[in-house]
Each structure stands twice: as structure tokens, then as C-alpha cells.
């Protein structure tokens, strides 16, 4: 998924014919003042960030006087822009209105169809007012019908133009391959509906149809910006569609604290299962890593290099499901990475590692580790088809405890 900023989202819905406030994007206080003069006070200053809850985080301010403007701009540029990565500020005209409406189109994985949501009680408290939301799943083959509109707006004391806004919004949803498209609040002011805030999330798998957006697909955490590790990881798949790599840094602290380790798995399912087992034994995965499909060895090499570049990793677990992947290729990628990360030991890792290979070509994978002398390392345990997710965590725990008591004469080399 690719989340667009408010400004980008508004640009798109404006093109579709939905009114948005006059506004400009600026990156310095001086520009902000110039734009304010052009628009006229009062204005709304909105930091363009993908963080949710911008109001509570003070990222949105309304200013009505010149003094107020200067003070607020200083505060916003000094305080916030040093803390968050996005340094763009949207300066917008301030609207006066009565009611705040909520309108969105989402891809609903229960009805497996687009779902339009509408509420007469929109605004920042929409989640608290969720019982007032009316939902209508659509038949994607038909689009928005008159019946859908009357169902949604039934009894709503609003202008009939609302139907027009709904249709236009749905067209954007379809045209832009959105997963979610939201206007909150939508207000009625000066005889028309105006979208005061907008949010668009685009399907990452459809980005090839929307190259004009210039969005870089990354492993998604919808709460925050992607990390540099995640951006690098996303690049691995960019030009090479043989197999897929998913690497995400897991937010700390997670529900449970523990010894920080790295993981990579063959298959999302086994990855999630292993994560659960390791956490229960007191080991906290710093990352989620999943190399699925039938990736090249070079893809594995890159993934492992990135995973080992994380700071303060105390161990590593690699586990495959009973996989259809050509695990000999997988093993070669891992081995080359280990050799480059630990050149002075010929690839023998400096931290405790458990490798579990199961599936097609699993024996070939194990042989390669033996052939290259890596499985001879005291830091390495190899597991095969007769083990399971729980074993992996137990074996890692045993290995980690044994190795911790041994003076570490192998330098822990990082990329």
C-alpha cells in the first residue's frame, strides 16, 4: 500500500471535480507568509505528514493574525520539522461551516467489494461516533447507482449535490486503484461541498498503473514512514520479479521485551509462527524477513546483508516452511552473504544462528552449508525436515545460552 499525503490526495480529488480549499505547499516560513498574504487570514497551517492524529500532535494550527502566524510558523518549523522527516507545510484558506460530514470509499475484505461509508457526524471524533456511520457495499461491476445514493443519504438533511460528490469520489477510487479514500471532514459552505481533509491509500500492487505519482513502494507500516532499511529492501524486488522479499523493522518495544535477534524466513506463514515461538522464549525479532516464491540466490544475498546490517543483533534465525522453493539457491545466497559479512572466518557467523531448511532441495541446502564449513561453526545449528517451529526456538535458546557463557573471541562484524 502507498499512503499519499493530504496535499497529494487533495490534488487528485480536485482534478476529479471535488472542491478543496485554496492552498499551497511551502517549505520555508517566508513562503508560508507569502501564501498567507495571497489567501488572506485566517489560514490553516498543516504539516504534511503520514502520521495519524495530526491534531493531537499539534501538526495542524489555525492562525488569524499576523503575530500569531509568525509565532506559529517559528514553532512549526523549528520544533516539528526537526522531529519529523517531512518538511512540507500546507497553507490553506479557512472555511466557515456548520456540519462536518464523513465520506469514504474503502475496499472491504468482508463483502469483498467497494464499501461507501457516510456519516453526518464527521470530524476528528469519527471513531467515537462510528455508530452513526452508514455503510453500503457496491457491486463493482455496476458502480454507484441511484439506489446506493439514496440509501446512503436517506434522511440526511443535506443538499442533493452530495450524490454527485459520492460518484466523483468513487470514480477516483476506481481510477487510482485505491484501497482507501477518505474525506473527513467534508463540509457544506458557500453553496458547495468542500473537502477540508483527504486521505488516499493506493494499492501497492497497482502502482505500475500510476507511475505519475512517483511513489516508492515499501514494506508497509501504516503508522510511520518507512525506514532506510525498508526502502533498501523494497529496491531488491524493483527490477527483479523472481521471488519476493519482504523486510520490515518491527517497532520497539513490541508487546514483550527480550534479547534482540534478526530473522529471515521462507514464507510469511512460517515467519509469523517462528516469531511467536521466539518471543515466547524471550527473543525479540528486530525485523520480519520473508523471502518467498522462488527467489534468486542474489536476492537472498541482498536480503541477508540488509538484515545483518541492523544494529545490536544478538542472534539470527533462518527458517523455511516445507517449501517448494529451490532451497539450494536460497542456501547459496545466504552463504555468500555470510562470507562477505564475516570474511576473517570464511563465513562462520559471529553470533548464534539457527538455520532450518525443509522442503524441495533441503538436503542440497544442508550439504552446501557443510561444504563451505559454515555448519561446523560452534555458533551454528542446522535443522532439517524433522523439526518444527517450536524446535527452532528451543534450539536457538539452548545455543544462545551456551554461547553466551563462552568468551567471544570471534569479532562480531557488521556490514
Amino acid at each position: 500500500m502507498a499512503k499519499l499525503t493530504e496535499f497529494e490526495s487533495k490534488k487528485i480529488i480536485k482534478q476529479a471535480g471535488i472542491a478543496v480549499p485554496r492552498g499551497e505547499l511551502v517549505s520555508t516560513p517566508r513562503q508560508a507568509e507569502e501564501v498567507t498574504m495571497r489567501i488572506g487570514l485566517p489560514v490553516v497551517l498543516k504539516i504534511q505528514s503520514l502520521y495519524t492524529g495530526r491534531f493531537e500532535k499539534d501538526l495542524i494550527k489555525i492562525v488569524s493574525s499576523v503575530e500569531d502566524l509568525k509565532r506559529t510558523l517559528d514553532y512549526m518549523f523549528d520544533v516539528h520539522c526537526s522531529e519529523i522527516k517531512l518538511q512540507k507545510l500546507l497553507v490553506e484558506e479557512k472555511y466557515i461551516y456548520q456540519n462536518e460530514y464523513y465520506l469514504s470509499v474503502i475496499s472491504d475484505d468482508i463483502s469483498l467489494s467497494p464499501l461507501i461509508l457516510f456519516s453526518e457526524n464527521g470530524g476528528i471524533d469519527i471513531e467515537k461516533n462510528s455508530e452513526n456511520i452508514v455503510g453500503r457495499p457496491l457491486n463493482i461491476l455496476n458502480g454507484v447507482t441511484g439506489e446506493d445514493i439514496s440509501f446512503l443519504t436517506n434522511g440526511a438533511s443535506v443538499n442533493s449535490d452530495l450524490g454527485d460528490v459520492i460518484k466523483k469520489l468513487y470514480d477516483v477510487y476506481r481510477k487510482m486503484d485505491c484501497c482507501q479514500l477518505e474525506i473527513n471532514p467534508l463540509v457544506f459552505s458557500e453553496e458547495k461541498f468542500v473537502a477540508l481533509d483527504a486521505k488516499i491509500i493506493i494499492d501497492g500492487d497497482a502502482l505500475y498503473r500510476h507511475k505519475e505519482l512517483g511513489v516508492q513502494l515499501t514494506e508497509e507500516n501504516l503508522n510511520r514512514e518507512p525506514t532506510s532499511l525498508e526502502i533498501s529492501a523494497a529496491k531488491i524486488d524493483e527490477n527483479d520479479h523472481r521471488g519476493t522479499v519482504h523486510i520490515a523493522e518491527l517497532d520497539q518495544p513490541l508487546q514483550k521485551k527480550g534479547t534482540r535477534i534478526a530473522i529471515n524466513c521462507v514464507g510469511t506463514g512460517v515467519g509469523l509462527s517462528i516469531m511467536d515461538e521466539l518471543i515466547e522464549q524471550g527473543y525479540m525479532p528486530a525485523n520480519f524477513g520473508d523471502t518467498s516464491g522462488n527467489p534468486t540466490a542474489s536476492k537472498l544475498y541482498r536480503a541477508i546483508r540488509l538484515i545483518f546490517s541492523q544494529k545490536d543483533i544478538k542472534g539470527f534465525v533462518f527458517a523455511s516452511c516445507v517449501s517448494s522453493q529451490q532451497l539450494d539457491n536460497t542456501a547459496r545466497g545466504v552463504i555468500k552473504a555470510l562470507k562477505d559479512i564475516y570474511p576473517e572466518t570464511g563465513g562462520k557467523p559471529g553470533i548464534p544462528c539457527v538455520f532450518m531448511f525443509r522442503g524441495a532441495w533441503d538436503k542440497d541446502a544442508m550439504l552446501l552449508f557443510k561444504e563451505h564449513g559454515i555448519s561446523d561453526s560452534e555458533n551454528v545449528i542446522m535443522l532439517g525436515r524433522d523439526s518444527n517451529e517450536y524446535n527452532v526456538a528451543c534450539e536457538f535458546d539452548k545455543l544462545y545460552k551456551t554461547r553466551k557463557s563462552v568468551p567471544n573471541n570471534v569479532k562480531n562484524v557488521r556490514v
Binding site: 527483479d240 542474489s298 539457491n329
Partner: protein
């Protein structure tokens, strides 16, 4: 005689083989496990040294399966002539 065999690969990076080291290599291990996306391997033996059975263009478009076997096997059993550089951002 060609001293260096070099080709680019799809994912970004290249494979280079220092052919001056290959003449005296008794195993030619790089060829043993070589696989392409087609039924024939990328590397073939020609005049006692490895040669390519594919064009540079084909290799860069994915004919080389990037299994890394040539490098790993050469390191272990050959004259350490194969080096694969893979870009990591």
C-alpha cells in the same frame, strides 16, 4: 586471448571471471552447477577456459539465474577466479 570474462546480471551487478587463472584450473568447478533460465547452462568450456553460451543482452535480461554457484564452487575447488559483485543499497 581474452583475459577477463565479464557480464551484467538482471538484478544489478556483474559476474567477472579472471581467465588467466582458469587455464591452470584442474576442476573447472564453475561450470559444474551452472544453470540458465533455458535448458543449457550459461558457462561452457571453450579452449580450456569458461565461455558464455548466451549473449550479454540475454544474460542481463535474466538468462543468468543468479544462483551464485560458479563463484562459490570456484572459491572452494577452483583458482578463485570468479567474482560476483552484487549491488546492495
Amino acid at each position: 586471448m581474452l583475459r577477463m570474462l565479464e557480464f551484467n546480471i538482471l538484478s544489478g551487478g556483474n559476474v567477472s571471471i579472471d581467465l588467466t587463472k582458469c587455464k591452470s584450473c584442474s576442476t573447472k568447478a564453475c561450470i559444474r552447477n551452472c544453470k540458465s533460465s533455458k535448458t543449457r547452462p550459461v558457462l561452457v568450456l571453450k579452449d580450456g577456459v569458461p565461455d558464455l553460451d548466451f549473449g550479454f543482452d540475454e544474460l542481463e535480461k535474466g538468462a543468468c539465474t543468479e544462483c551464485l554457484a560458479c563463484e562459490l564452487d570456484c572459491q572452494l575447488y577452483g583458482n578463485k577466479a570468479v567474482i560476483i559483485e552484487l549491488t546492495v543499497s
